[in-house]
Amino acid sequence: MKINVFGSNISALVCAGCLAETGNQVTLIGNRDKERSEPGLLKLLDTQLDAGRLEFSTGYDIDADYQILSLEPGNCSEAKLIAKSLAAGTNSNTCLIVRSNFTMGTFKTITELSQKPCIMNPDFASEGRAIVGFMRPDRIIIGSHAPQAIKSFKRLFSPFNRNHNVIIEMSPESAELTKYATNAMLATRISLMNELAQAAEHLGADIEEVRQGLGADQRIGKAYLYAGTGFGGADFEIDLSRIQKIIHDSGSDEGLLKAVSLINEQQKEVLFRKIWQHFNCQLDDKTVAIWGISYKPNSNSLEGAPSLSLIKALLNQGCSLKIFDPMLEANFTIWMRETLPLEQQKRIEICADMYETTEQTDALCVITEWQLFYSPNLETLKANMRTPIILDGRNLYDKQWMEENQFIYYGIGR
């Protein structure tokens, strides 16, 4: 099959790579800028390029059997332009698959503009696990009113639907809303856990123990019950604000999701509050080490990352910072330049080694659960730090182990 994939985000690159790997001839109308931020993606793309099944291009293949739109959620107008050009410039049997999470109703406009049979197939895979998410999905949602296109789509995606059938067919509107509903539900679970974490601290309970008890209930399940420093990710936050608007426009009260967002914004500063209280509101002579900047491990994405809220809060109180992240790239430097005054930028030292970061510091904040942070050498930390204080934003560490090693330990909800 010949396929055009439009887009440059991780979702587009993964989709192009995986479809090429299953023997299709894929033209990707986009660039590879983000390939390094997703584990395995670079190798996948290189292999497919070498095999000749994948090519990057500025123009699309007019003979393609499938057109896949996988643009950023904010690029609705670009999507409409592409749809318009596809109406004239492609073969009449081609089928258009929309995987982007555009505003509700955009799919309908695209269908009208493209004059092609269309399918809404939302991408549910999360960054950092995007390839596995594409190859072995929980579900493949097909939102369409075009029987021929559905048949053709099923043929294309059959390699990813072999173990058991995970395809669910529905209307395009339901498919669009399902994507939003998924993120709203996940966000709500996280914010609820973060509120419960605060209550746990107040009551002397441990949210980790509560999580295990809660997750054992089959009605609830184990996923997305981790208290932490709040969720990030650009798409996640955009989705949340869009679903709030959809709910509001439908005439219903938007109170629940507003609270979910507000709790999350406050949760991003949870470690700041702990340091602030620990040092009795006096931080201007303190140096703080931070491990992990990206909003999730195995990614360099900073969109909405809780670390950025913490960095701003600490700098504004006069702290100096030493930071380490295994995938820290130019996007962080750009963020610093665009967001922080020069005087504050000068108080940030970026370190190449996680232990070097902790030298002569008054506290260590662990924000992102990169695997290399799970089992640190406490002796080295103790030798390096001025005061042995660990603030564990992901509840990675055994509290007792920390305390036995004379660390002052602050987790979330424990």
């Binding site: 700041f272 509050r273 009795n280 509101c281 701003k312």
Partner: protein, 521 residues
């Protein structure tokens, strides 16, 4: 004043014009409006509905000249110590010299800007580390009325990132307690605004606020994160515990009722941003420039002041009504009550002798459309002769059809009332007889925003100054308020010791009744 030639010429003119009905001045001269209004880029002052003619106006201008108004204006702007009883300047104009500020003024702007930036970026933190969301301004008199009046008037320009600003002034603490019930101590910041930092009203409320924070805050250090001090007295602020970085200063040459232009305006800056606060200063500065440089016959504060003197000292009018036709100016009349009556409500001249003429009239007011259903009855048919200032804005709330409709209704009502007061209507049925002949000013301002509001306030400040110069009194002290403060301390001692010795029988009788009722409860 009475020694001037102009005064002796004005006296007989007044006697003659008193016999003329205001409406006939219009029927006699179709160009009356042309002759008796001044228009600038930003506002129109119409004083044609005053009982004056060209000769009266000329003599009033002569009165100003004979009273040395121009040299006094120059002393005011030069920062000379014209508040002689307190040996201080009254240099509020220096606070808003936006392009050429004094170094100490610029330094405080800088410190304010830093606090405003921290607040607006949600980086001003309370004891828990949460960002501050609510600001309570504790102050009384000038430390309350100015910021309250301005923030209320400009609420529609409030920045989305601004905190909610509240005002508390009364020493019975009921306002404060009502507010504290719905605020969260971890996210509430108090501004303690007091020129001397000794005012019992303010400091008693500050202590109550401090106790409220202390009940939740883990330490003294963290409690103090919740208090900004604004005062001329850094020593007292430090003694109270205000952290150095949360202290803002002004100076003894800023009178309390002129202090909204100083750091006392912090709550305004929190609401509008520093740009909005500076727009307010810029508007006032524009009026300063107009006052300082415009010939008296086109000088709006000079004319406004002289007309007031004409009405008070020659036409024997006893009261001044302030009638803004815009609900956003709800607190404007209260603000002017302090500005005018605390400044010129005096009977001792600069030379220490008593005045032999009347000075500041009783001033009160209300948003016009509401006042129409309250005290306008008295204006139209009562026995008191009153002068009124109608204040109207050209621009309505928006360009929508409904907004235009409401604005036209508002304009129609404002103009109808000043016209009705002027022309009246005769009827055989005395219940339906309207004598008219009540004078009024109309100030038509382009729009209500920070710049124009600053200009309007400065206009009245300078009007007050003009009148003080003609009356030869010092408008910048307020000795009248001291006696009551002293007696309150004395009576509080009596209450503490539960005695009524040396008190008059009325005070003693009331105290005894209170004690009896308290015991019964």
């Amino acid at each position: 004043m009475i020694e001037t030639q102009a005064f002796s010429k004005l006296k007989p003119l007044a006697e003659s014009i008193k016999q003329t009905h205001l409406k006939s001045l219009f029927t006699d001269d179709v160009n009356r409006f042309e002759q008796f209004h001044v228009q600038t880029e930003h506002l129109l002052y119409d004083f044609s509905k005053q009982k004056i003619d060209a000769e009266v106006l000329q003599e009033l201008l002569n009165l100003a000249t004979e009273s040395d108004l121009q040299p006094w204006i120059e002393k005011l702007f030069a920062g000379e110590k014209i508040n002689q009883t307190e040996d201080r300047a009254a240099w509020h104009t220096a606070l808003r010299d936006i392009n050429n500020p004094l170094p100490e003024v610029a330094q405080q702007w800088h410190k304010m800007e830093h606090l405003v930036d921290l607040m607006h970026s949600h980086q001003l933190r309370g004891f828990s580390g949460n960002a501050i969301t609510d600001v309570v301004n504790i102050g009384v008199g000038g430390s309350d009325l100015g910021p309250l009046m301005v923030t209320y008037a400009l609420e529609s320009d409030k920045l989305p990132i601004a905190p909610d600003v509240h005002f508390v002034s009364t020493l019975d603490a009921r306002q404060l307690q009502r507010l504290l019930k719905r605020l969260n101590p971890s996210t509430t910041l108090f501004i303690i605004a007091s020129k001397s930092f000794t005012t019992i009203d303010t400091l008693s409320l500050a202590e109550t606020a401090k106790e409220w924070i202390e009940a939740s805050s883990p330490s003294q250090e963290s409690t103090l994160r919740h208090f900004i001090g604004i005062s001329t007295n850094p020593t007292k602020m430090s003694e109270w515990g205000i952290l150095p970085q949360l202290q803002l200063e002004f100076w003894d040459w800023v009178g309390g009722r002129y202090s909204l232009w100083s750091a006392i305006g912090l709550s305004i800056a929190f609401e509008l941003g520093m740009q909005g606060y500076k727009d307010l200063l810029a508007g006032a500065h524009a009026m300063d420039t107009h006052f300082k440089t415009t010939p008296f016959e086109k000088n709006i504060p000079v004319l406004l002041g002289l007309i007031g003197i004409w009405n008070t000292n020659f036409l024997d009018l006893t009261a001044q009504a302030i009638l803004p036709y815009d609900s956003r100016l709800k607190y404007f009349a209260s603000y002017l009550e302090q500005l005018e009556m605390e400044s010129n409500g005096k009977s001792t001249r600069r030379d220490g002798t008593a005045t032999t003429y009347r000075t500041c009239p009783i001033l009160w007011g209300e948003v016009g459309p509401n006042a129409q259903h309250a005290f306008y009855q008295l204006l139209h048919q009562g026995t008191e002769r009153v002068m009124s200032d109608f204040i109207l804005f050209t621009q309505g709330q928006s360009s929508s059809e409904r907004a235009k409709f409401h604005q036209n209704l508002n304009i129609a009502n404002c103009l109808a009332q000043s016209r009705a007061l002027m022309i009246g209507k005769s009827s055989e049925d005395l219940n339906k007889n309207y004598p008219g002949d009540q004078v009024s000013n109309t100030l038509l301002v382009n729009q209500l925003n920070a710049f124009h509001l600053g200009m309007l306030v400065a206009l009245y400040e300078h009007k007050v100054f003009v009148q003080s110069v003609v009356w030869r009194i010092n408008p910048f002290d307020q000795w009248g308020v001291e006696l009551g403060k002293k007696l309150a301390i004395n009576i509080l001692e009596h209450i503490d010791s539960h005695t009524t010795e040396e008190l008059d029988t009325s005070t003693a009788g009331i105290l005894n009744t209170i004690w009896k009722q308290q015991n019964e409860n």
